[in-house]
């Protein structure tokens, strides 16, 4: 195994508040890692820093041995990191299929000339984009199949929007996928389904997965390793059992609740 992602000493401040305060973590290739922590612990901020949405104030982020600090989000996506958002962000007026097709953008190249003249190479590429998009939608079985693919994304149910967001991320053909609370707002059955999908991402697609999750059944079911954060720092990591019984973690959850 090799280190796919390595975050070292990352600090990210918003005004006086350090959302990430010297965060250190790494992810091995082929691992499923859960990131847990109370609200405001800095989990989403971690994803935003890794994907280039926010530049870190200090520290380094390495992907596959190479520093990606300072790269634009689309460059990082092209290197092989895909993500979903905590609050779903689809291209609401594009069809389900088109949403997934946008994911293929970074793997294809035809430009204005190709668009206007449509030489065979462009047509083939367009066919391929469609193919990959269909395949990533098919990851969720019948959920996003058939007539739904021609519907605009905004008519989808909430759970399907989450699935489509993941399918769009899969269509970028990533090596590492970052899922920000993929089961938020889902009912228990859909949550269990999603748990299985997360495992399938690694087993069938060979992806490395980092997932932020509040639902402990999911965390327990998928994680090779659990990382618990609080105040922008890692407070515990290891197996689910170890982290769940770590006094600092319990204190973080309970203490916060008692104050709140």
């Amino acid at each position: 195994m090799s280190r796919l992602l390595e975050v070292s000493g990352v600090v990210k401040r918003f005004g006086g508040l350090a959302a990430l305060d010297g965060l250190e973590l790494h992810v091995e290739e082929g691992e499923i890692v859960s990131v847990i922590g109370p609200n405001g612990a800095g989990k989403s901020t971690l994803f935003n820093v890794v994907t280039g949405l926010y530049p870190p104030d200090e520290g380094d982020v390495r992907f596959d041995g190479r520093s990606i600090v300072g790269l634009r989000p689309h460059q990082i996506t092209k290197l092989g990191i895909a993500r979903t958002f905590q609050t779903v962000h689809l291209f609401a007026n594009m069809t389900v299929l088109e949403n997934a097709m946008v994911g293929q953008h970074c793997r294809t190249r035809s430009g204005v000339f190709g668009a206007i003249v449509r030489p065979p190479s462009t047509r083939r590429e367009e066919e391929r984009i469609r193919e990959v998009a269909r395949r990533s939608l098919a990851f969720f079985g019948p959920r996003l199949a058939g007539y739904r693919q021609e519907q605009p994304a905004f008519v989808l149910s909430y759970a399907n929007r989450r699935r489509l967001e993941i399918a769009r991320a899969l269509a970028t053909e990533p090596r590492l996928i970052l899922l920000d609370e993929p089961t938020a707002g889902m009912n228990p059955r859909e949550t269990l389904e999603m748990r299985d999908h997360i495992v399938r991402m690694r087993d069938e697609l060979g992806l490395t997965v980092v997932v932020i999750e509040h639902d402990m059944r999911v965390v327990k079911g998928v994680s090779d390793r659990v990382i618990a954060c609080d105040y922008g720092r890692v407070i515990a990591q290891g197996t689910y059992e170890a982290v769940a019984h770590d006094p600092q973690v319990i204190e973080a959850y309970l203490g916060r609740r008692a104050v709140g």
Partner: protein, 592 residues
């Protein structure tokens, strides 16, 4: 009941204000001159009828009450409409009374349009008291009619509206359509009277019936197709139909100069130039979602570039002089360069403003247009641009011994480029590039995170839009033969933006229709020129209220609306079925 009539009162007062306004700006009298149907229906009278009718139409509009859409019943509609119409008439009467009391001569220095002719029109030549009565009673009657009209089922109302609109349009086009019929050697005396120049009553009725029937057929089919399952969206079928439509449109457009003569060609040539601009802007604003308020800058750049590259001369006190920098290239070669220059300037201007969004970007683009005009006018660049006088002797675009300055020839030149620009726009929309723009328009940050280099695509949007806009400018210079900074004021940018918004942002057929409606119609309908911007304003406000997605919305938006209806229908069916089942279960339980 009194509360229920309030919408009628409000609409009536607004309608009355509109009536007074139309009278004061002189539209009523000016429009009186044109006879539309027989000798009874004049354009002025039509304009007089419109405010009460429109007021009641608005007063009776469906309302959302407690989350449900409430359409007033026929009785309420009648009452509301009558109140609104009568109020419009009453406001008009009050105006008349004021004019009578003060005297036409004393008002005239302030409101030029208040003339004996206006009083004559408003009183129908029967004196103030009778006139006021006619206004109020007639207004009430028209308002009632408008209210009832609104209460009629949509499927019946729409075709008749299309029919009436066709009649009015044909009547307004009385300078052009009879001429075309003559060219085609068709009998026309049954349709257009030689005495009044307008439509004959027979002609009007025939047109009304035919147009209504045709509209009913088309609308019915469209409705049925929209409700059919999604299988209808097979791309080959749509593609085939679109090809047929486009071919017909191009053939018609190509035949136009033969049929309609040089005045129409002249007007349509200008429309073509602006259509090119609008297509360019449509890429920047419609596809890529960046509001551009200074698009006339590309117009200017294209015009000056082609003038300088093809050997135009400066106008100076000492006669014509060659500019400091100029070339004497073949027009078509120069055009390639002009397009490249437009693209380069577009990209260069975009580079520093990539981080700006929305309003900020709009303001910068506005400044960009201003800077372009100031530079062209400046004494610093006078040796090249000719300052305020500009350049003249622009090329006539010779090709194989033909020159393209005359109205008909120029029309064909611009038509060819418009077809090209439409093709390019359409191909771009359905490509990887178009998808990237679309994603960027929806959510820039997310598009970036999904791998779309948004900065590059913004520049690309500006570059391609700029190239097409510059092409329009180049053709404009050929058409006019001179280039002056005065032709590229802000109002041109606004006009082009209005075309794109009216037609439908991001929709190529919409932009074409928008250009025809906003630019061709005022030119073709005689005497509208004077009130052009007034009408633009009114049309834009109406569009924003009634149809914010534009005349022919972008496919995606259309899908939005249709899909919503469809899912809603399906949902209602399921809901109804469930209720039925529950009722049955309850009944089964109740029975022992």
């Amino acid at each position: 009941m009194r509360g229920a009539l309030r919408p009628g009162a409000r609409a009536g007062l607004v309608g009355g204000a509109v009536l007074v306004y139309l009278a004061l700006v002189g539209m009523l009298v000016k429009f009186e001159e044109l006879r539309l149907v027989g000798s009874q229906v004049t354009r002025g009278r039509l304009l007089l009828v419109l405010p009460p009718f429109a007021a009641s139409f608005f007063a009776v509009r469906p309302r959302v009450i407690g989350g449900r859409v409430e359409q007033p019943g026929p009785g309420v509609a009648l009452a509301l409409g009558a109140v609104a119409g009568a109020l419009v008439g009453a406001v008009g009467s009050v105006g008349l009374a004021l004019v009578e009391a003060i005297g036409v001569e004393r008002i005239r220095p302030v409101f030029v349009a208040v003339s004996p002719a206006l009083v004559e029109t408003l009183t129908f030549g029967r004196g103030a008291a009778a006139g006021a009565a006619i206004l109020v009673v007639g207004g009430a009657a028209l308002g009632a009619a408008g209210g009832i009209w609104r209460a009629i089922r949509h499927g019946l109302r729409r075709p008749v509206e299309v029919g009436l609109l066709t009649v009015v349009t044909l009547a307004m086009l009385q300078r052009i359509v009879p001429f075309m019929l003559d060219e085609l050697r068709l009998e026309r005396d049954w349709l257009y009277s030689r005495a009044t120049r307008g439509l004959t009553w027979t002609g009007a009725v025939v047109v009304l019936v035919v147009a209504t029937a045709a509209a009913a057929y088309v609308l019915d089919r469209r409705e049925r197709r929209a409700l059919a399952p999604a299988a209808e969206g097979r791309p080959e079928v749509r593609g085939w139909r679109r090809t047929a439509l486009v071919t017909i449109a191009v053939v018609l457009a190509a035949a136009l100069p033969q049929l309609a003569g040089s005045i129409v060609s002249e007007i349509m040539g200008t429309v073509g130039v602006f259509l090119l601009l609008a297509l360019g802007l449509n890429i920047v604003t419609g596809y890529a979602g960046m509001l551009h308020l200074g698009f006339s800058a590309f117009f200017l750049i294209g015009a000056y570039a082609v003038a300088l590259l093809t050997g135009a001369n400066l106008v100076t006190a000492f006669g014509l002089v060659a500019p400091r920098f100029s070339a004497d290239l073949n027009f078509y070669l120069a055009l390639v360069l002009v397009v490249a220059i437009g693209a380069a300037v577009g990209a260069l201007v975009a580079a520093p403003v990539l981080r700006l969004r929305g309003d900020y970007l709009a303001i910068v683009t506005l400044a960009f247009a201003q800077i372009a005009v100031i530079l062209a006018t400046s004494s610093w660049l006078q040796p090249i641009t000719g300052g305020p006088q500009g350049l003249r002797d622009v090329t006539k675009a010779p090709l194989l011994g033909l020159e393209f300055r005359s109205a008909e020839r120029f029309y064909y030149l611009v038509l060819a480029f418009c077809v090209l620009a439409v093709f390019v726009s359409w191909r771009l929309a359905w490509s990887r590039v178009g998808r990237a723009w679309n994603a960027m328009r929806e959510d820039e940050q997310v598009a970036d995170a999904m791998g779309v280099p948004t900065g590059r695509y913004k520049m690309l949007g500006f570059a391609i839009g700029g190239a097409i806009g510059a092409l329009g400018g180049a053709l404009f210079a050929v058409k006019v033969g001179t280039v002056q900074p005065g032709s590229f004021e802000i109002i041109q940018s606004i006009t082009v933006l209005a075309v794109v918004i009216l037609g439908g942002l991001g929709s190529v057929p919409g932009v074409v229709l928008g250009a025809l409606v906003l630019l061709a119609l005022p030119g073709l309908l005689s005497q509208l020129e004077e009130f052009r911007f007034l009408i633009y304003g009114a049309v834009l406000v109406a569009i924003m209220i009634l149809r914010p997605q534009g005349l022919i919305p972008n496919v995606r938006r259309m899908r939005e609306l249709r899909e919503e209806e469809r899912t809603q229908d399906a949902w209602q069916q399921i809901f109804a079925a469930r209720q039925e089942r529950e009722a049955a279960e309850e009944a089964a339980e109740a029975a022992p």
